[in-house]
């Protein structure tokens, strides 16, 4: 059990970081002059090592997806920068593939053509081999010629994961990829993602609002507060995989993360944040029920 408190001071800026988020601030300018701008992220500093699996958790609307979108090159930060392999991110890049919550699998292509979409290899035989390999890895062998409309939500998300891996990226950005799935499917996919990650060792930045999910998947969990959010804590999960959520260490870390999020919840609520408050409360109930 290693717990890394107060990330702002103690983060060592090693040049070997795969992803480095530096002094990042994000404000959404309101197009309507009468409304005030929305401050989403404040002073975010984070370093992710090569091959590390990092989860970012926080209450709904806290800006964790915004952070991921900036890292993926889909959004421009107001201030600060994200470096991947020491290069500033300015646009999406095929080496860093994003997996979307709303599922970005192309419905007009069958499973094979979807998985092959981002394959860079020109040789058709190699290409087919790569496609077959990843279709098999996500357990969709036999569904190669099937179109997405005939697949379940979980299978579609598997296609998207295979499509991302087949592009042979260095980094995977996953934005609540299981958020729209039912509970059991989510559990199964978590286990599968763990296995795949253990084989592929990609650097993963994974956003979720589900604390259980974060503890089960991550090497480190970045806990964010309510909007405008800063990093509240970075928790190292030093439990061998596959992880059982009933493991005492997992429980303890979950309670700790929950405490960090919950502390924020009591008393300090900003005006106009009532909706997020309610969402956060319902999160609390769900987590308690699951125990």
């Amino acid at each position: 059990m290693i717990m890394h408190m107060n990330p702002h001071a103690a983060e060592s800026r090693s040049p070997r970081a795969k992803i480095a988020v530096r002094d990042l601030w994000m404000t959404f300018k309101s197009p309507d002059k009468t409304k005030s701008d929305v401050h989403v992220l404040e002073d975010i500093n984070l370093e992710i090592r090569d091959g590390e699996f990092v989860c970012i958790v926080g209450p709904s609307g806290c800006g964790k997806s915004t952070l991921l979108n900036i890292a993926g090159g889909f959004l421009q930060a107001t201030q600060g920068e994200v470096l991947i392999q020491d290069k500033m991110v300015t646009a999406p890049d095929p080496r860093y593939i994003f997996i979307f919550q709303e599922n970005g699998v192309f419905p007009w292509l069958n499973v094979e053509d979807n998985v092959g979409f981002g394959v860079k290899r020109p040789n058709p035989a190699e290409r087919q081999k790569l496609v077959d390999h990843y279709v098999e890895m996500v357990g969709l062998t036999g569904f190669g010629k099937t179109y997405p409309r005939e697949l379940s939500g979980g299978m579609k998300q598997r296609v998207e994961i295979a499509r991302a891996l087949a592009a042979e990226p260095d980094v995977l950005f996953m934005d609540e990829p299981f958020g729209a799935l039912d509970y059991l499917t989510r559990l199964r996919l978590r286990a599968e993602v763990t296995q795949i990650w253990q084989r592929e060792r990609k650097t993963v930045m994974f956003v979720t609002h589900d604390v259980d999910e974060a503890v089960q998947l991550a090497d480190r969990v970045v806990v964010m507060g309510k909007r405008p959010s800063r990093i509240r804590d970075i928790v190292t999960v030093d439990v061998p995989r596959p992880r059982d959520l009933d493991d005492p260490e997992c429980r303890r870390l979950r309670d700790h993360i929950f405490g960090v999020m919950g502390l924020d919840h009591s008393g300090l609520a900003a005006p106009g944040a009532a909706v997020e408050d309610d969402e956060e409360k319902s999160n609390v109930v769900n987590l308690n029920d699951r125990r």
């Binding site: 999406p92 095929p94 994003f98 979307f100 970005g104 979409f117 179109y147 997405p148 592009a167």
Partner: protein
């Protein structure tokens, strides 16, 4: 199995009932001018024997095909560009929205003025009638593309013309196809009206000529039935396209 049988038998029963009512309605009212179903069949056969029916059907279909395909080849690219480029849409959309509600029938005098009594006049009218639904459908289709597809493609390094070919077009295709079906229906409606005035061949001409030259209402109704049957066939063709895997995901039923 039972459903398939019913889907044939039920419409057949309705058709039979309709023809029966029609027959007795003519008999009981003692009309001299309005034909019975049997007279319409005889009239149709007369048109076939004289070689007129086939000639007129081909003439109408040729005009529809020419005007419609012209509209497809101009309307789809135009709509795609309008959907994709905001400036382009800003510039052209008001003009299209003003021209669109003008019935193609209202253009008939203008068409005759420009093209005279020739094939060009109805072809122009069909082109106009099909162009707007196709353009507007293609434009809306592009605007409705889910952002996640564009973002995913960009992430894989796809941009420019390749993005258009690999993502924008296929993503827009189902809605474009719905527009194509709508436009074909309108085109088939317009050809009949255009032929009544601007030319002397085709099914529209057949109907107006049969009435003017001797009140041959058996031939009028024969022409009407032909128009209905061919319209059904055209719609069936487009519907077949809608079942293809590449578009079926986005066709709302």
């Amino acid at each position: 199995m039972r459903n398939k049988l019913e889907s044939v038998l039920l419409p057949l029963a309705v058709a039979l009932g309709f023809v029966t009512v029609w027959h007795f309605a003519v008999k009981w009212t003692g009309s001299d001018i309005f034909p019975t179903p049997r007279q319409v069949l005889a009239g149709t056969w007369e048109l076939v024997e004289k070689g007129v029916l086939f000639k007129f059907v081909v003439a109408s279909l040729f005009r529809v095909a020419t005007g419609y395909l012209l509209a497809v080849f101009i309307g789809i690219p135009l709509g795609l560009l309008m959907g994709w480029f905001t400036r382009f849409r800003m510039a052209l959309n008001p003009a299209i929205q003003v021209l669109r509600p003008i019935s193609p029938i209202a253009w008939i005098p203008v068409a005759i003025l420009w093209f005279g009594v020739s094939d060009l006049a109805p072809i122009f009218l069909i082109f106009l009638a099909s162009l707007f639904p196709i353009t507007v459908a293609a434009m809306a289709a592009v605007q409705n593309i889910q952002l996640v597809y564009i973002r995913a493609a960009r992430n894989f390094g796809i941009g420019g013309l390749e993005l258009f070919k690999k993502v924008v077009l296929p993503a827009a295709l189902p809605q474009i196809l719905t527009g194509l079906r709508l436009a074909l229906g309108v085109a088939w409606l317009v050809v009949v009206a255009a032929e009544m005035i601007a030319v002397n061949s085709g099914l529209g001409y057949l109907i107006i000529d049969a009435r003017n030259a001797g009140k041959r209402y058996d031939l009028v109704v024969a022409g009407m039935a032909m128009i209905g049957l061919i319209g059904l066939g055209l719609d069936w063709l487009v519907r077949r396209m809608e079942t293809l895997d590449e578009v079926r995901w986005g066709i709302s039923r």
